[in-house]
């Protein structure tokens, strides 16, 4: 594959740097995945808990390479007419109307049924042709001449049937439309495909086999500090360290939904809005609903709020 910004994918370090410049802080595995995806021409299946930046990775890579990011959001009941293509019925109807009127001219001078039919065959039929094709995300991605980033988001929400539908696209970068034939991607500029999954159900082996598998876990304290720093640069270092320690503590607790990075970032923004300089138990209690999304969780944490806050303060004195 040769993309216009190929040099940005030359090696793992350059990729990591490029991502960092766009405020996407990731470990080496993430950069390695992007590197291999490009050079082996394979899609990446990204798994991990919600809010660790799976979707963000695809968007950032698109931005880094200056390519369009085509997104297909999956949901139950998604089918080929929404994902691949659809016929423009209205136009097709109009076309038949027009055809009807010109039918006389076409069949002019024909004798007998056989001759008419053969004349009709000679007349190029464009009823099923690309003009009447409404491309949906997958087809659009294939037809992009300059390459693109295709993001198939939350694949685990779709049906099993849809997964099978994707296989042809993912392994050969082509799609078959029965009426027209096979449409292939530009051999030199295949789309860079990212699939994300929250693991609500097991993805089939057939799909997994065709992809590189990247697992993004919650970041460790160090990485998370860097991420907050990159995303919310206004925040004071002291407060940043405190909140990261606090969040890391929460992740060890028995919660229904532990706070992810996106919640940490939201929280950081909240704290800035409130002109906070240092964490204290009251403040945390008031803003707890930013990081915890279940009443049960909030209750669990409130019970231990004081001790966790103190710990966060102590560690970052």
């Amino acid at each position: 594959m040769t993309l216009k910004n190929e040099k940005k994918l030359a090696n793992v370090d350059i990729i990591q740097e490029g991502l960092e410049q766009l405020d996407y802080i990731g470990n080496q595995q993430i950069a390695t995945a992007v590197f291999l995806a490009y050079h082996l021409e394979k899609p990446i299946l990204i798994e991990g808990p919600p809010g660790v930046g799976k979707t963000e990775l695809a968007k950032t890579v698109a931005e880094m390479l200056n390519l369009e990011c085509i997104r297909l959001q999956c949901y139950e009941g998604l089918d080929e007419s929404k994902a691949i293509y659809e016929w423009k019925y209205g136009k097709q109807l109009l076309y038949t109307q027009v055809l009807k009127e010109t039918l006389g001219e076409i069949l002019d001078g024909a004798k007998g049924l056989t001759e008419s039919v053969s004349k009709l065959h000679e007349f190029g039929d464009i009823f099923f042709s690309e003009e009447f094709l409404e491309p949906r995300p997958l087809l659009k991605a294939l037809k992009k001449e300059e390459g693109c980033v295709l993001l198939i988001d939350e694949i685990d929400k779709s049906d099993h049937e849809f997964e099978s539908l994707l296989l042809e696209m993912l392994s050969d970068y082509q799609l078959s439309i029965p009426e027209i034939g096979t449409i292939k991607a530009n051999e030199k500029r295949k789309p860079l495909v990212f699939l994300t999954s929250n693991n609500t159900r097991e993805i089939s082996d057939a799909l997994k086999r065709r992809c590189l598998h990247l697992y993004i876990p919650f970041p460790d304290a160090n990485l998370e500090r860097q991420i907050v720093q990159a995303r919310v640069p206004q925040i004071a270092e002291n407060l940043r360290n405190q909140m990261v320690t606090f969040i890391q503590e929460l992740r060890d607790m028995d919660l229904k939904k532990v706070p992810a990075i996106s919640e940490t970032i939201d929280w950081a923004r909240t704290l800035i809005l409130l002109h906070t300089e240092s964490l204290d138990a009251d403040l945390v209690r008031q803003t707890l609903n930013v990081i915890l999304k279940f009443q049960e969780d909030i209750e669990t944490v409130e019970a231990e709020l004081q001790s966790v806050t103190n710990k966060a303060l102590k560690e970052n004195q």
Binding site: Q28, T32, L36, L40, I44, D79, S81, D159, D205, K208
Partner: protein, 485 residues
Amino acid sequence: MDRTLVDFVKVLRTAEIKVSPAETLDAMECMDLVGYENREFLKNSLALVLAKNPEEKEAFDDCFERFFVMDKPAQAGNTSSDEDASGGEDEFDDGDFNAEGESQQSGKGGGQGGGQGGGEQEIDDSVPALQPTSELGKLLTNGTRTEQTISMMEAGRKVEVSKIVVFTQKGLFTRKIMDAMGLKGLQDEISDLQAQGGPGERNLAGRLKKSRDLLRERVRDYVEKQFFLHADETGKQLREELLKKVKLSSLEKRNFKDVQEVVFKMAKKLISVHSKRRKTYKRGQLDVRKTLRNNMQYDGMFFDLKWKASKVDRPKVMCICDVSGSVSNYSRFLLMFLYSLAEVLPKVRSFAFSSDLGEVTKLFEHSKLEEAMARTMRDYGNGSTDYGRMLQDFKNHVMDDVDNKTTIIILGDARNNYGDSKSEIVKEMYDKAKRVIWLNPEPKSSWTVGDAEMKKYAPCCHQTEVCNSLVHLERVVSNLLKSVA
């Protein structure tokens, strides 16, 4: 290197990472691209291609560390030997893996490895060094460490050390590898040298003997590593196979953890087989678009209607378990199985009894299996079995919930202590439910012996099965899932 990769894939497979041939090819392509220089990079890359879920990633890390560990010492040996090559001509470093410091000494001592005593070194200085003639002898005295390691690994491949299964084979394989490396030639040479009896010959014989013993050590180490790599998991597989077939009542407490693992694995298999089965729903909202599309081929006549909803049909299971002493173990595993299947069997209601019937559904849903089982045993486990009472209880409390989609599984030996069997209630279940399955842990021949009432119950069941091992359990549950589709 391809060969190494294939070996590595084999190791991964024994560690229960599913690697398809296509993925192996991907890995090769990936190795071509990545190269072998940067270990971390290679590891990350291979992990992306070969391990496809978080558990597999963990196992992969472990395997990678263990499999590629021997490369490091070999390289260290290599560099040190290269340095030594300028120091003395017939030297070799036979020290252990931290050979660097010792090999300096060997350069000065005129060719002896660090492991050898000073006395011999003096002799060595006075007598011109003899060269060994056998293949292995040459390799040991003149070859670099890397060459020796390679030769050892090649020999290992030849004798298929990766097929090692139990630890008692370690000695055998060590011997086989030594033989394959040409031990016999070396032995002959040593005894020849000793027979000739000159000081030079004796010296050489001594050195060869020493290095032979050291080589044996190394081969033993190597075999040991291979054993951990290949056989550890194979042994586990063997054990698991065994556990599947053994009678559940003879399982001991220490096996429970293993069994649980096996059950989860079997359950997972069943889930993946059955979760895809879907039934097109025949009612619901008309999917206009789909219908139009589908009927275009019939000239727009609508006779193939498409509906919006598609529905997964899942069985409603009621499971009645005898938890009295003799049968409790079977109940334990049946319940374990059913609750591991929560993904495809969301509607399991379970009841336990020895005389009184009690519902334990909530208990199993909310607490850990061990705990739930222990509490069930405590609450319902004592007292003599009374099937009549149980059935009466079932009729009074639960029968109303039984409908034609319900499958009732009864697990018990049907030994009623000569009480009233109340088989008419089972008949009622038979009429109301979709299926009634009776699982009996006893062999068929004793179903009618003594106080067993199977003769009365069996006609009122759709299916009666002997069920006393995990394999049986798996078959029953699989059938259960099949029958609803």
